[in-house]
Amino acid sequence: MSALPGLALPSLWNRRGTAALTVFAIGVSVALLLSVQMLRSSARESFSGTISGTDLVVGPRTGPVNLLLYSVFHIGEPAANVSWASYRLVSGHRDVAWTVPLVLGDSHRGFRVVGTDANFFTHYRYAGGKPLRLAEGHPPQGSGEATLGHEVARAHGYRPGAPIVLAHGLGAGSFLQHEDSPVRVAGVLAPTGTPVDRAVYVDLATLEAIHGPAHSGPEPAAITAFLVGMRNRDTTLVMQRALSEYRGEALQAVIPGVALAELWRVVGIVDRVLLAVSACVALAGLLGLLAAILTSLNERRREMAILRSVGARPRHIFGLLLLEAGLLAAAGALAGIGLAYGLLLLARPWVAARYGLELGLRPLGLTELAILGAVIGAALVLSAFPAWRAYRVALADGLNVRL
């Protein structure tokens, strides 16, 4: 038995063309399976970790998922505004501990500009309660200052003191630049792995100043949405209901956890379909392996017969074929891991830029290892069939010359 690896490797090397193709086929399917799985978990973590410690997100009536997406994830466009009067009503309420106003509508080189106030930097929490940290500088103080998300600063090499120009609109660029009122970088936030990394934060007064003297004063007439932290968590539901029944304005208050759960109920279906499809691709790769072994059996009749004639038992032949299949599958799995990480590494900046989703490059988790184990296990089970056929073939079979 101990001679088997010594036989299997040179034997595979002898058929290296077919072997390489088989490894490649398995590698591609494993890579697909792994990257879908990693994408799933990091999408889920990235989404769930984006907001924490906020009791309600308040905005115009659009739908809970929609409101959460544009106000917190910066995906999609706001539908309407919330009046400053309604904001003041909530922020001054005795059961409310803090509020964070959010004003969207401007951008800087494709990154969204968020108008807010100092409360954002003290009360915003992510990834299960982590506060924002500044890598350098300070939060914007008054008009004309901006604090950048980590990715914004990294992409353009901004440091505190650098002047930036904000543009009107949410696109990648704009033909309406606020060139007459440049803003100075006041600070840069430490990376968070959330959409905060990809936003520019300015004070509400800055946005009022650059949008001209239409309404003078540091306070806007309306804001896009706001975050609410209650003094006591159990008053959340009363506030939520009071806001959605408020007669002064059509408002909507959303519990972030509920909106996230709803979002996952929708995304979860697509997510499972993707995993099922990639499992089918993996199965196709394994069937390719099976076909390769089966066809090789005929070519190798003579090899098997010689092995038998020099003393190999049928179980050795069985073991040899199983070992070969296992080696191919293992090599395919390794190639798949490499491919998957390579793909993720390549796709990372693009996915972040396009979808604001941070793909974490992590070591393989238990689920990923289980997938790899399943692929190799399935290869062994499948190859048992050709191995059993080779086992059954008589010694004389390969030695006779058949016409």
Partner: protein
């Protein structure tokens, strides 16, 4: 399983159940109401609350809201089935804090239940929530807070709680 297997198993189950029962009290939602309110309580909702925003002196805000609790379950370890309204989610996407409510849809598109029909739960083990339409058994240490001025707030708080899936 031997000849006496089945009665033996039943006996073991009974024993385990009674031991568990002594420590953990299994509740129904009506057990959260004070004894004298159980007959009259209706699942209908309290009056609209828009005046809550404007100030507490307005007439609607002064409407009595039944937030009285059942003192018998205060401080006990209890087990209660319900639906989950996720409040706090950790970095792995699991629920760590929630409201437990007696019906699905509370706090999303229908008004919330009465204060004494909501339990604010802090989980000891984070929960991987499948769907908000799934029901769960929640077991933990129950504390009743009788705050009559807090309109519609939850009157119960459960800490160190664990969950298991409830099968209908």
């Amino acid at each position: 399983m031997g000849k006496h297997g089945l009665p033996g198993l039943a006996w073991t189950l009974l024993l385990t159940a009674s031991v568990a029962f002594a420590a953990v009290r299994q509740l129904e939602w009506k057990d959260l109401l004070p004894a004298d309110a159980r007959g009259t309580a209706s699942p209908s909702q309290p009056a609209p609350l828009h005046d809550y925003l404007l100030g507490e002196d307005s007439p609607a805000a002064l409407q009595p809201t039944d937030a009285r609790v059942n003192p018998e379950i205060d401080g006990r370890t209890v087990r209660l089935p319900g639906f989950i309204v996720p409040l706090e989610i950790d970095a792995e996407g699991r629920v760590t804090e929630l409201f437990l409510v007696p019906f699905f849809g509370a706090c999303i598109h229908v008004p919330p239940p009465a204060p004494n029909q909501i339990v604010y739960v802090i989980l000891a083990d984070p929960l991987e929530l499948g769907s908000m339409a799934d029901a769960y058994w929640v077991t933990g240490h129950m504390r009743a807070t009788n705050r009559k001025t807090r309109l519609g707030a939850s009157a119960y708080e459960m800490t160190g709680a664990r969950t298991e899936r409830y099968e209908f």
